[in-house]
């Protein structure tokens, strides 16, 4: 690797920081690595080569959440202590169950029956979840892919998405006291308001999910499925929209039913799943009430040194509510 002398990019006028902060490393990416990433990126951006920017696809995505819950209430799912040790295996896909259409019908109905959470514009959506995910451990001098233990995450999001606060003390590098993630520019792509405006008609919705991609083309299918997953995750959406989202998702080629999947809180449910190159993403629903429990991603191939079957991301909803301020809990207490 060519190492250049200490770079001169540090501008004048920050001299005081030199005394207060450790000397930063150059962090030069080796040329070979830069070239490899360049080649990779060029492959990626020309892979599907959409005519128009793919911004539209993600533009509306993000916040609100599906199925779920009355203000402040905790999902009363029957806790099943029996955890499957083979967490990753897609168990008995063909066992008698409601089947894809049947399952989606029930999930959509359950979603549509949920009372809507309707925050005022000056209020916040509060979502508490249990989550774990992939990170890199370098503690013993080598790089090792590890999955963090499940831990608590609380978020407060304004309906327009411009203000939010995240408290996840066990996160690898977020502020232990929580972080304000306000976006002063008022980007509302990911907001409750934006998702509320999604079409309730599954066909129109499906078109939006594909964002110009073609059903039947694996990357496009995957990306449409993942979009729904992101809306489900930690989001609040109207019962009507979430019902439509499930129906739309069921039409994505490759979507299947996994009869038994365990969420981050150890609850076992039935899942809608999609398998891509390296992993299978599952959305898990309660077997009886068909309420949304959470989602997870399971490796189907070795990746980052982790074995197939490893759950490398999971997130289970504990409760959702409308509150009046950041740091306010559903019972009115302030953190």
């Amino acid at each position: 690797m060519k190492r250049m002398s200490r770079r001169t990019v540090e501008p004048l006028g920050h001299a005081e920081f030199d005394l207060l902060l450790p000397r930063p490393v150059d962090g030069l990416m080796p040329n070979a690595r830069q070239e490899a990433i360049e080649d990779y990126l060029m492959d990626e951006i020309t892979r599907t080569a959409p005519e128009r920017p793919r911004v539209r696809r993600a533009a509306w995505v993000a916040l609100p959440v599906a199925a779920a819950v009355i203000a402040g209430a905790v999902i009363a799912a029957p806790a099943e202590p029996e955890r499957d040790s083979r967490a990753g295996a897609p168990e008995a896909r063909e066992r008698p169950g409601p089947g894809l259409t049947g399952l989606v019908d029930r999930i959509s109905l359950a979603a549509a029956r949920q009372p809507a959470l309707e925050p005022r514009q000056d209020q916040y959506l509060y979502i508490e979840s249990v989550t774990s995910g992939f990170t890199v451990d370098r503690s013993d001098g080598t790089e090792r892919g590890v999955v963090t233990p499940p831990h608590k995450r609380q978020v407060w999001i304004s309906p327009d998405g411009s203000k939010s606060f995240v408290l996840e003390p066990e996160h690898a590098f977020m502020d232990k006291r929580g972080e304000d993630l306000d976006t002063p520019t008022g980007d509302d792509r990911n907001s409750y308001n934006a998702v509320k405006k999604l079409p309730a008609d599954p066909d129109a919705l499906l078109e939006r999910l594909y964002g110009g991609g073609k059903p039947g083309n694996l990357p496009d299918d995957w990306s449409a499925f993942a979009e729904v997953g992101r809306i489900l995750d930690e989001q609040l959406t109207t019962p009507r929209t979430s019902a439509a989202l499930y129906r739309a998702a069921a039409r994505i080629p490759g979507v299947e039913v996994v009869e038994k999947a365990t969420d981050a809180r150890g609850r076992t449910g039935i899942a809608l799943a999609f398998t891509a190159l390296y992993d299978r993403q599952e959305w898990i629903f309660d077997k009886d009430s068909y309420a949304y429990l959470g989602r997870r991603s399971v490796l189907v191939k070795e990746r980052w040194g982790l074995k197939p079957g490893t759950v490398h991301f999971q997130s289970a909803v504990v409760g959702r509510a409308v509150v009046d301020a950041k740091r306010q809990l559903p019972d009115g207490r302030m953190l």
């Binding site: 501008p11 004048l12 830069q34 990126l41 990626e44 920017p53 370098r138 993630l181 992101r230």
Partner: protein, 229 residues
């Protein structure tokens, strides 16, 4: 003020001439021209990488952040303004957002990330290994120092002090007014100074009371709230 807009950090030649074609470069990126995007990458890959590395203190994560930043940049390219001087502040804004929530962005590009070429974990020769180890210590120290700052301060410090963006560029990247950048930098400096001062006092306190008592951190008797704000 921070550095002028011009320095370009790539190791490949020809950056100067790009200045003349920047306008159309930004328009071409917006229009989805892959070659314009390649040029954006070549000009800014090192800048983004260094920013990511210093922010995360981790080589592997920095690699992911570089890829994610450019994947996001491509995805969001229709937000690139064609009237600016350079795509740099916009791109760094994308990097800031990626760093604010790496896992979420990673999920968005899960599939693309799965195709990312593997890193060479074995250094080419011993000299590099030694460099790497020294770097790792420095990175850990930098991460500890940054960890003492609030996120908003951390961002301006890494952008202005360690990545050489001007206040105006940092403001554009973060979507805040220039004055805010300035005051965040000021607060960051004040906070670091207070912390440095506290460390000195704690060391002095240790010296005064003799060897540290096991299980008790030195300096715990000092009125922390005074310093911790």
């Amino acid at each position: 003020m921070c550095a002028p807009v011009i320095h370009v950090t790539g190791t490949r030649g020809g950056e100067r001439t790009y200045l003349y074609v920047n306008q159309s470069m930004q328009a071409r990126i917006r229009a989805g021209d892959p070659e314009a995007f390649r040029r954006l990458f070549r000009e800014h890959a090192q800048l983004v990488h260094r920013y990511a590395l210093r922010s995360t203190g981790d080589w592997a994560t920095a690699d992911d952040v570089v890829s994610l930043t450019f994947l996001e940049a491509w995805r969001l390219r229709d937000r690139l303004r064609v009237d600016g001087d350079s795509a740099r502040p916009w791109l760094m804004g994308v990097a800031v957002n990626v760093l604010r929530n790496i896992s979420r962005t990673a999920r968005r590009h899960e599939k693309a990330l799965a195709r990312m070429p593997a890193r060479d974990t074995v250094p080419d020769f011993a000299g590099e290994l030694v460099d790497r180890m020294a770097d790792a210590e420095q990175l850990a120290a930098a991460k500890r120092a940054l960890g003492k700052l609030r996120r908003a301060e951390r961002e301006v410090v890494t952008l202005c002090v360690w990545s050489g963006l001007s206040y105006a560029e940092a403001g554009e990247a973060l979507g805040v007014p220039l004055g805010t950048v300035r005051s965040r930098l000021f607060r960051a400096r004040e906070r670091l100074r207070r912390l440095a001062e506290r460390e000195l006092r704690e060391n002095a306190a240790d010296a005064a009371v003799g060897p540290p008592v096991p299980g008790r951190r030195p300096g715990t008797t000092l009125p922390k709230e005074k310093w911790n704000r």
